[in-house]
Subunit: 230 residues, 2 copies
């Protein structure tokens, strides 16, 4: 009855997302070896002996970006289709990482940013993973404060609006964005203003996220417990 368990290889992967030039982009590197030689792939790699998954993806990301620049990291899913790797039986646990828009990490020569809505052909099931990551981000922008991980510490509402538009893929008005996030206690004014731009205009107020950790702000979409307000 002491069965001998089989052992697959296991990799950790991350779709690292950042809004760059007004578009949601993800970090990819070009594979130098088979399989999928020459194709683009997500950063990541094998799990080390007795290493936790999150430690593993942080370690592998270090080879591509400064991990301190990843403002948020969360596990997405584990891919296990036996056909996902042509040569070996390999599982992959995928993460989504978010990088604030004001940093520009130095990346290796084989590595670059690619718009999520215009991906090249990706190795393995990495294309699917990027879409799952994007959808997770979009969903959480609606009911959490996850925007903190896409934005600089201080920013104007217009700047924040650009980030939301890029990530959500649809228009958002600065007016309503500000009101929703302030009402929920997600955003607060710093009290300072930025100078007007070269063409004039009223100097914008600066805002910051109240918290730099993920927090659910709209817990009950419906079916609230009694007495929790209409």
């Amino acid at each position: 009855m002491t069965e001998q368990p089989s052992r697959a290889t296991h990799v950790s992967l991350a779709a690292v997302l950042q809004v760059r030039q007004g578009r949601l982009q993800t970090l990819l590197w070009r594979r130098a070896q088979d399989p999928y030689r020459g194709d683009w792939a997500l950063p990541g790699g094998y799990l080390a002996e007795r290493e936790a998954l999150e430690a593993s993806i942080r370690r592998h990301l270090t080879q591509k970006v400064d991990v301190g620049e990843v403002a948020h990291l969360e596990q997405l899913t584990t891919m296990s289709e036996p056909s996902r790797h042509p040569d070996e039986w390999q599982l992959a646990t995928a993460y989504v990482g978010l990088v604030a828009s004001d940093v520009d990490p130095t990346v290796p020569a084989d590595t670059g940013w690619h718009p999520v809505d215009q991906l090249p052909s990706l190795a393995f099931d990495h294309g699917e993973i990027v879409l799952v990551a994007r959808d997770r981000l979009r969903a959480k922008l609606s009911y959490t404060n996850i925007g903190f991980a896409l934005a600089p510490i201080e920013f104007t509402v217009s700047e924040l609006r650009e980030l939301y538009v890029a990530a959500l893929g649809h228009e958002v008005t600065a007016t309503n964005l500000q009101r929703v996030l302030v009402r929920r206690g997600v955003l607060e004014p710093t009290g300072t203003r930025r100078e007007s731009g070269p063409v004039g205009g009223r100097p914008p107020a600066l805002f910051r996220f109240c918290r730099q950790e993920l927090e659910v702000t709209d817990q009950f979409a419906v079916l609230r417990p009694p007495g929790s307000g209409a």
Copy 2:
């Protein structure tokens, strides 16, 4: 540079949830062997050679319940703390399974149902997994049609209300539950009525879920795209 990847063992686990006797319960079995001999644990087991995770958990669940009775199955998370197993380096991918309230699967002698809010001490990190499963169910009850997996094909609003109360852990009124779910197009009347109970009362209308597959019904908690209604 051809590194030799290390290989952990990997198990699939499932928190199978069902509302029984008005309480949300989960299926546990008593371990006959070390480690954690005598403790309660989630159903599941080792991944077979080149087996996908979902196939694996379905196979293992077959030993505890008829898998046809699991109305919904979805992956939750992969646990990887190296200390989670005392003897071996083992990863575990957890699923949540839902069973409709009108079936009573026959289960082996070592297996039984336990209220989620009154769990015994569980082996490994299985207690944590059950709580993640419960929270996932609660969240999805709010913005999806996932109730279909807890309910019989046809039911009265009062019966559905009992399921929601048990799963959510707070009161829900039949009046508002019906209106919310019908307005969203999740629930529809079958057109038939059930007989009155022995003590009288108006005979209740029967309802059914419009779809028996998971569907998001409240997509944008906020920050809706323009023109999508107030």
